[in-house]
Symmetry: C2
Subunit: 372 residues, 2 copies
């Protein structure tokens, strides 16, 4: 970790060193509120995904606005968030291996913890870890609702695992994990709507089979920023796992939002960068490359909207094709909108929080690098 953060409290944005991860607090706070506002009086729980921000300060703000808790992907993320004051964490993922399960069970003595499973042997191992720790753990069955990643098939295979969990001495059946990840970035509203209609049909059918088998299903949980109003409309989901809504990113911006009835979440997260070289008339080079902005979902976009484009990222360099844009002198600073916020946040130790052009706060990204 660097010896000094790139900013101090009270600095102007212009003074903040680069590359730095900038959080514009006004836009961020509007995004924070727009999620609950968009739900009106519909009965659905919010459990925002902390894998996007990895920051207890943000988790606490989400809970202050009504979230019942947060989601994590990893035990080490959950550990850091619980240490930061979060009292209710759902790990929306399978947790495999004796060492991880021991930590998971231990953590459930400090906070309410639930985990997902899609494998009979793993459920047995979770039960054993809970027994050894003297705790009872909530286990949800993850079902594959179209993303073809983790999860058993909906319907009967899910009922089999739910029965196993309900019949385990140290486990409780916590419900269904039904996240349709690949639907989030389908560009057309109709495509996203159709994908979630299909997912919801799987959830509905599985809930009916569980009921017929005499197994109470406490909840179905899922949804992301790209689709959550469709999960709400389906009336078979009880809980939302939206993460990116607080930041937005280049990939979400490429979705068509017309007619989606989704609130207009704003870009609040930026990579602050400096022009470090400008020797050719066609290009300028900035100091934020792929160690400063994840390029898995496309290149970052320059926030000012001029003709210049960020076209290529090397480890520590970004190539700006000027397309006739003026400015971009050596020393000029600019904001980039990351292509994908989650892995970009994971590259930094701090959010540099800006209001009215000055550094108002520096929030540690405490679970940065929490991979296991």
């Amino acid at each position: 970790m660097p010896l000094y953060p790139p900013a101090t409290i009270g600095m102007t944005l212009a003074e903040v060193d680069t590359p730095a991860l900038i959080l514009e607090l006004d836009a961020f706070e509007r995004n924070l509120k727009r999620l609950p506002e968009s739900l009106g009086d519909r009965k659905i729980m919010m459990r925002p995904h902390a894998k996007s921000h990895k920051c207890p300060q943000i988790a606490m703000r989400q809970m202050a606005l009504g979230a019942v808790g947060v989601c994590c992907q990893k035990v080490s993320e959950a550990e850091v968030l619980v240490e930061g004051g979060v009292t209710d964490v759902l790990i929306t993922n399978e947790v495999v291996g004796a060492f991880k399960l021991k930590r998971l069970a231990a953590l459930s003595k400090q906070a309410r913890i639930a985990v997902c499973a899609d494998d009979a042997g793993n459920i047995k191992a979770i039960d054993e870890a809970a027994r050894e720790a003297g705790v009872t753990l909530d286990v949800l069955v993850e079902i594959n609702v179209g993303a073809n990643r983790c999860g058993v098939e909906p319907g009967e295979p899910a009922v089999v695992l739910a029965k196993q969990i309900a019949g385990s001495a140290n486990l409780r059946f916590g419900g269904l994990q039904a996240y349709q990840g690949t639907a989030q970035h389908l560009r057309k509203v109709e495509e996203r709507q159709n994908a979630i209609a299909a997912a919801a049909a799987h959830v509905k059918r599985t809930r009916e089979l569980l009921k017929a088998a005499g197994i109470e299903c406490p909840k179905a949980t899922g949804a992301g920023t790209g689709t959550y109003l469709f999960e709400v409309a389906s009336e078979v989901y009880d809980e939302l796992q939206t993460g990116s809504y607080i930041f937005m990113d280049g990939d979400y911006a490429r979705n068509d939002w017309t007619e989606s009835r989704s609130p207009r979440f704003e870009h609040s997260l930026f990579v602050w960068t400096t022009v470090m070289s400008h020797t050719g008339s066609e290009r300028a080079i900035v100091d934020a490359g792929l160690k400063a902005s994840s390029i898995d979902s496309g290149m970052p976009r320059i926030a000012d909207g001029g003709p210049a484009e960020y076209i290529k990222a090397a480890d520590e360099h970004g190539v700006i094709k000027l397309n006739g844009a003026t400015g971009y002198a050596v020393g000029d600073k600019l904001k980039l909108i990351p292509g994908h916020c989650d892995p970009t946040v994971n590259l930094y130790d701090h959010f540099i929080c800006i209001r009215n052009g000055r550094v108002e706060a520096i929030w540690p990204i405490t679970a940065r690098g929490a991979l296991w």
Copy 2:
């Protein structure tokens, strides 16, 4: 940062938690020695690039085998390495901005520090920072030898900047930075050889012009793992900046090395991962996604060489297409060869160092996240 590292000293590899960054010490140490061995008695300095490892423990081992110092890309990297005991650092990059230059000048009181420049205004700012700190700084002129990134054009434009540096009260002209980055991964030996021949011709011509102008050029520095024997053969380079040779990665493995006369560097760096889900007959899911292995230069490769392929990375999931491979049961652990070592190392806090199947050491990746 996670509360616990994924391993403890003496653990077996099988016990190490996942995802973890594994360094196989025997292979690593063979790589370390093969670079100087491959140079024989040729007079050329080694200055390995620390952007690959970001770890003082590794820098010290490189210097113990004859390296004159290391390279860095960022002032914050150099700060961490100097704090870790490194006494000679070349920043192979432009450093722009008053705050960075103040730190650079201050650091030169603790170690021998040099920096690159390609802009007259920036040279003036470096001179001013050196004056304020009461130091004399070595500044190299970066020339564009074909990568079309930073650097002035070779020849006269470089001589102009060299004159400016030599005429600045608080600067010394340190030589030419001439790294041909795009040549490193040209797949054919002949393509790499031709690219370096062109780069070397630019260096040679610029050195001749400098000589004619009465400016002594202390050195030309450059080269990477993919090409360094061609820079050596050119006899116009004095110093090598190879970084990846200690680890190798999937991208370098895709180069053709036949007839290159390069030593056979081995994969020593791996991402250790667990099968966390296996619900379909076609696929298994591992717990290392794109927050655990950078995918900018292609997907990671499974180290055992069977038919299974890592085909897709989500944030926390890797999709393995089995192609008929057996095994891959939930809980099985496997080694991945990262597509690109440098940004993968930057995702981790520790190298878990393995010898004979056990954890022999845990080296902190001290400059992880040192971006500015």
